[in-house]
Amino acid sequence: MDSGGGKRDAPTSAAKWYDLFSRGARDWLRHDEKIRAAVKDNLPEIIAGADLASEGARTVRVPVRMLEHHHFRLRRADESFGAGQGKAKPGDVFTDPSKEGEGEKGPGGREQGEVQLLLEFKVDDIVDWLWEEMQLPNLKARAGPSDETDWTREGWDRRGARSRLDRRRSFKELVKRRGAPGGTPNFTDEDLRYRQLARRRQPAVHAVVFFMLDVSGSMSDRDRKLAKAFFFWVVQGLRREYRSLETVFVAHTTEAWEFNEPQFFEVSGSGGTVASTGFNKVREIIDARYNPGRSNIYLFYATDGDNSVSDAADARAALATITADACFTGYVEVSSGLPRQLATETGRLFQELQAAGCAAGSYALADFDAVWGAVRHFFAAENEAPAQS
């Protein structure tokens, strides 16, 4: 079979090293690592643009370009010359297929197409990174008495379920009884100790976040998307702090309704804006379902800032009753047009609150890049705000 002498035979019996190991894959993984690190470094900007699936999104997809290892290259010339081959006469003109969309079958291209990667990140990871990266203060949970009870381990007993047998403790009892270690340990029923459990009340680590959105005619689709992106990250942030986090979604025009999450972001209304209806609705829900002493209440309100002039007094009063019970109230002014620097009806309302020393904050959100600025603003402010009691 072999004709070329000993050194030429291709051994087929033993697996070669290259069957077991791919250097290309190893270096690709390293590239992947680098790109993830790069994404992590620019996370707020990248995430702001990413589309977040509305319900239960646990991952975010981020389109990225492959990294390029740079070399010295000449500037791209306006006009360059090349050599080609085929049926072409001087004066023929055609277009370079690598410069246009696919479809037309032109001459073979000159440039390598670019490859885009779609990286998937876990939302939890992202939130962790961001909290590290942005050094957001962790929120202070309000611990209060609660009805919630839980089992805690408490003491030992001579009787109990087999699974709760505490061997170490039992052995100690044995040693105590015999006076000295050594010899064959001989357990009796007297020696055995079982761990005991007892029900104890737990302090409250419960929070409810009200998201209130103005869906009146003046709020565009983009405004709602902005608000949604902001709300999404607020939930992620608060969820880190509270074991149980409830969300309540309220939308209002001249009336107010409660929605579930998917509907909430789809809702669009028309007509005027009466903010007090929304605040009243929130108040109603608090009274009906939550005990301010036991829950940490947050309210975030997103609107374009216009409110019916006649509603000013009502809105102020309604909001005041909420801030009295809430840990924090935040106001986001979404305005895809010119940022108006919060010089609006509703903006003034919240500024008054802040001036009065309540835990409140406001932020003007003009585009997606600013979403992270808004999140940072609120979480930093929340921590500095005087504690409500």
Partner: protein, 453 residues
């Protein structure tokens, strides 16, 4: 792996030797396609790790999935040479590839550029590269992957910036400037020297330190390795390892048209003359041959690049037909692609092959230009100038260790891509560890400085 093919190897070798090919023995090894792909990506069977190879690997994977490229063989020059063949090659393909590989082996043993490179790098580049990879793994153990990657980022970014006219193992510059008086030696100088010296000129001048570098230095990898003010020795080793591999890659790059053409010519000719090959295998092999050397992808009429296999093959065929094998061998031994194309790509052949020169505007419009043979030669060769890289040289090291680089924009015709160049400077600055200044020109042609940091 079919043993059938192995049975033909010796007979093809004998036939090749009888036809006048002079080659070192070649070890053939059939390997899986995945490994073939890696060899193509890295350029060598075992090479240092770097993430940029991972990027190339993915591009290659995508290309393969789109059915664009298929690798039959990769051959490494040396004594013995080493050829890797794809395991899934058929019998006919393997016969063709064997003949092709022998053409390469003949070329790399006799071509001057290859010979010079092998004298310098050694005839065992595959083992050398594997050693470099091992050395870099050791550096990773000792200094951490992060730091090694920083050094490799810089070294590999400069991989084309060597000076092949210099020796691979090259000493440092002379410490002191030469006395210019010694250089001139003619009758006038002798008479002048014989004159009585005046008091002033009699005092021996203090020896002058030579500036570093004494002339603009294009061998950047060598220069950085030798003159970086604060480089660690293992970082220098990485630079020199990359440089050695570049010395190996240069002849492969600079003779691609000749080399592939020569191998294609010989596989076609040996196949014709090999009467021992079964008829069916011969027909299949010829089909495969015409796929390899076809100028244009099947579905298009016009290609905006020139297939080096086809061009080289056609040129050698014409040359041997016209001047005979002896003359062709002489050219093969002495030329590189620049001489080869400029001297032997004639007007008739260019027309016969349908070669044309075109102008591409940045908006993608392409205009076919007049047949101007000289300009066509340069259009074919332009991507090969200076190892395919802009001419950047080290001009001066300032007293504070600042490195001055200059770009020869007059030769290159335009300035550097600023964004990329700035990135390269950032890589390099991390090993040079002092500021770096690069001069080039902007769009308008006036001087421009890039700084790092």
């Amino acid at each position: 792996m079919s043993g059938d093919w192995q049975a033909y190897v010796r007979r093809i070798e004998e036939l090749a030797a009888r036809s006048g090919l002079k080659f070192h023995p070649v070890d053939f090894e059939a390997v899986p396609e995945s490994f073939m792909m890696e060899i193509a990506v890295y350029g060598l069977p075992v090479r240092m790790p770097h993430w940029s190879f991972g990027v190339r690997y993915i591009y290659q994977l995508i290309q393969r999935h789109m059915g664009h490229s298929r690798l039959f063989e990769v051959v490494f020059p040396g004594n013995p040479g080493h050829a890797y063949l794809a395991q899934n090659n058929g019998l006919a393909e393997n016969i063709l590839v064997t003949a092709h590989v022998l053409g390469h082996a003949d070329f790399s043993r006799n071509n001057l550029l290859f010979r010079r490179c092998q004298e310098q790098v050694s005839e065992r580049i595959v083992e050398h590269a594997a050693n470099h990879a091992r050395q870099i793994s050791a550096a990773i153990e000792a200094h951490g992957a992060q730091r090694v990657e920083v050094a490799l980022d810089a070294a590999l970014a400069l991989e084309q910036h060597i000076d092949v006219d210099q020796a691979l193992r090259r000493g440092r510059y002379p410490e002191y400037a030469k006395d210019p008086k010694v250089l001139v030696d003619d009758a006038f100088q002798k008479r002048f020297a014989a004159l009585e010296r005046t008091a002033g000129s009699a005092a021996p001048e203090a020896r002058k330190r030579a500036p570093v570098p004494p002339h603009p230095e294009r061998d950047l990898l060598w220069f950085v390795a030798n003159y970086a003010p604060e480089m660690e020795s293992w970082e220098r080793d990485i630079f020199l390892a990359v440089r050695e591999e570049s010395f190996y890659f240069y002849p492969v790059f600079a003779t691609q048209i000749m080399n592939e053409g020569w191998a294609s010519y010989w596989h076609a000719r040996l196949l014709r003359e090999a009467d021992f090959i079964p008829q069916q295998a011969y027909v299949d092999a010829i089909k495969c041959h015409s796929d390899v050397v076809r100028p244009i992808a099947a579905e298009s009429q016009v290609s905006l690049s020139v297939n080096p296999y086809h061009l080289g093959f056609s040129m050698w065929e014409k040359l041997i037909e016209r001047d005979g094998l002896e003359a062709a061998r002489g050219i093969m031994e002495q030329d590189d692609d620049f001489a080869f194309v400029r001297n032997y790509l004639t007007r008739e052949l260019a027309e016969e092959l349908g070669l044309f020169r075109y102008q591409a505007r940045s908006d993608g419009q392409i205009t076919v230009l007049d047949h101007d043979l000289g300009a066509l030669h340069e259009a074919v060769l332009a991507p090969k100038y200076n190892f395919g890289a802009p001419i950047v040289s080290a001009a001066r090291v300032r007293n504070d260790g600042t490195l001055e680089l200059t770009h020869d924009s007059r030769t290159d015709g335009r300035g550097l891509d600023l964004e990329r160049s700035a990135k390269v400077l950032t890589y390099l600055q991390k090993v040079w560890r002092r500021p770096i200044v690069l001069t080039t020109v902007n769009q308008a042609g006036s001087a421009l400085e890039l700084n790092a940091p």
